[in-house]
Symmetry: C2
Subunit: 329 residues, 2 copies
């Protein structure tokens, strides 16, 4: 039976200074979606692994399902497709799990149909999938999961994406504590308005951050990793957040903040050795302040995003699978 | 009598997407300040040309005077300095007039004292001058007037400045209508808060704009020249603003908006020919909607900012005077 499996990586969105518009991709973890033809003439989901039964099996209510439907409709494809989803990402972790499933689904279906659609088209379909399947869409997770690297979303709809350069030594640390935060609840904390002086500081930092990526100026990048918008309002959702962030800074991180709406936290570091030290310090601080068993990842910024890993005729844009992340405990 | 004269250029701040943090320098017009020693042991202003008698002659209340005092105090200089100011910039035009006077003053005094202070030190003194002399300071005018080029002010105090690259073909048009807007009044229109979705759009645009400068991507630059913060609230201060902006777009501008708090308007264009067309169209639209005699300038982005033009031992940072603007009527 013809089948295509695609992998889409976890992503860190917001990145302190880029609330709702900036994200980057990790090598791992990620979600896998396998697509094969069915005779039912519609999109079905036959299995979801590692979700503890919590995600909807109804394709019309599942981000991967809706994204696949959006792409098939755009292609005028009348054949049905069955999806199998393997969650590598913990649910509600702030690492772009629903985005990764939507992205993996469109890449798998694109491979199965041999449609070879542009990344922008796949992005639009994945965006539709997350918006209608999960209730809200985060292009700052979808875009880096699909494209890899650092991505700035100038506009989500219609899509206007800016792929930013990645300094070679930049390494990410992500710690996921045993804690769940609902995106909707984290969103509600933000309110509808922000102080003008905070907004000004935020765009000054984002502008400087983009410049720092272009120049590889990690000192400027470090100064720019400041969140005046989301972090002050959401930090209370993570017990000991200030101490965990301080542990990252003391261990040499360029900066640290919440990943997306949390509870995962990320740090950016200059090189592997610094990242290992920061990972150890953050993990220890999470154990102290939150308890449980945190999951910690150390990964360079993944230059390659989603791709076909089994089957298909070559993957998205000719990109091949890459690896390099170091999963820690 | 030993005397040093410095020139500091007009600047366009805000630049649509960078409210309060982004600005660029024109070649002309600008203000000139001449500094010479006096025996009074304090800073005096003996003449101001072209201000119609409206600027304070009391050095402690004049931006140039306060800036000069700040620098002399920092140098531990006990001798007195007399300043003569020649305004090349129209008052309250939105072209950074008080910033230009403060910048020209510190550069002239730096030349007279042969102190050779860093640009960052001169910036801090000029900032103090405008803040205490004019009541509010606009580092996004001061910094590009001093440094030249496009400057992003990540933080004003303590100063953290990012000098951005300037695409070679980028040309600015500035039209100053016969109309005055008080900065304080324009500021009051902004209020203290902004809608979160507008703020998000603003920093997405500024991030994209910085990327566009680095890549020389004028299409992206054009899409990013959008102001969700100040322009919607201030446009009503300029009769016919929407029509003038549309005239710029129709004539081929990459984008147009208010310069600072107005009433001057700027456009950015790809090349001299486009700029000349845009200048003619905007000038005509200003005549139609506002009347009077507008002043129109076409200028590449000035890579060189303030500098000693008469006397001294070499100018700021070894920079020499340059020219290239084309004043139009």
């Amino acid at each position: 039976m013809e089948a295509v499996t695609a992998f889409a990586p976890a992503t860190v969105s917001n990145v302190a200074c880029g609330f709702d518009v900036l994200g980057f991709a990790l090598h791992e973890p990620g979600d896998e979606v396998t697509a094969h033809w069915n005779d039912a003439g519609c999109v079905r989901i036959d299995a979801i692994a590692n979700d503890e039964g919590r995600l909807p099996r109804d394709a019309a209510k599942n981000t991967a399902g809706v994204a696949a439907i959006a792409l098939l409709r755009r292609l005028g494809e009348r054949r049905g497709v069955t999806l199998s989803i393997r969650k590598g990402l913990p649910l509600s972790s702030g690492l772009g799990g629903s985005a990764a499933s939507a992205v993996a689904a469109v890449v798998a279906v694109d491979g199965l149909t041999r449609a070879g659609q542009s990344l922008d088209t796949l992005l639009a379909c994945a965006f539709e999938g997350e918006r209608d399947g999960a209730g809200s869409a985060h292009a700052d997770n979808i875009a880096p999961s699909l494209y890899g690297g650092f991505v700035l979303v100038r506009r989500a709809d219609p899509v206007d994406i800016v792929r930013l350069p990645v300094p070679a030594s930049l390494t990410a640390v992500v710690v996921h504590p045993e804690l769940e935060i609902e995106t909707a609840k984290a969103r509600a904390l933000l309110g509808d308005t922000v102080a003008l002086h905070d907004a000004i500081r935020q765009w000054a930092n984002l502008g400087a951050f983009v410049d720092a990526l272009h120049r590889g100026d990690l000192a400027l990048l470090s100064r720019s990793l400041e969140d005046r918008i989301a972090e002050p309002r959401r930090a209370a959702l993570v017990p000991g957040f200030a101490a965990i962030k301080r542990a990252a800074a003391d261990a040499g991180a360029l900066g640290a903040s919440l990943s997306g709406s949390g509870p995962s936290m990320f740090a950016l570091c200059d090189g592997d050795a610094a990242a290992d030290r920061v990972a150890a310090a953050m993990t220890e601080a999470v154990r102290t302040h939150i308890g449980g068993i945190p999951q910690t990842y150390v990964s360079p910024i993944a230059q390659v995003g989603a791709r076909v890993v089994v089957g298909g005729v070559g993957g998205v844009g000719g990109l091949k699978a890459s690896s390099g992340s170091t999963p820690h405990v």
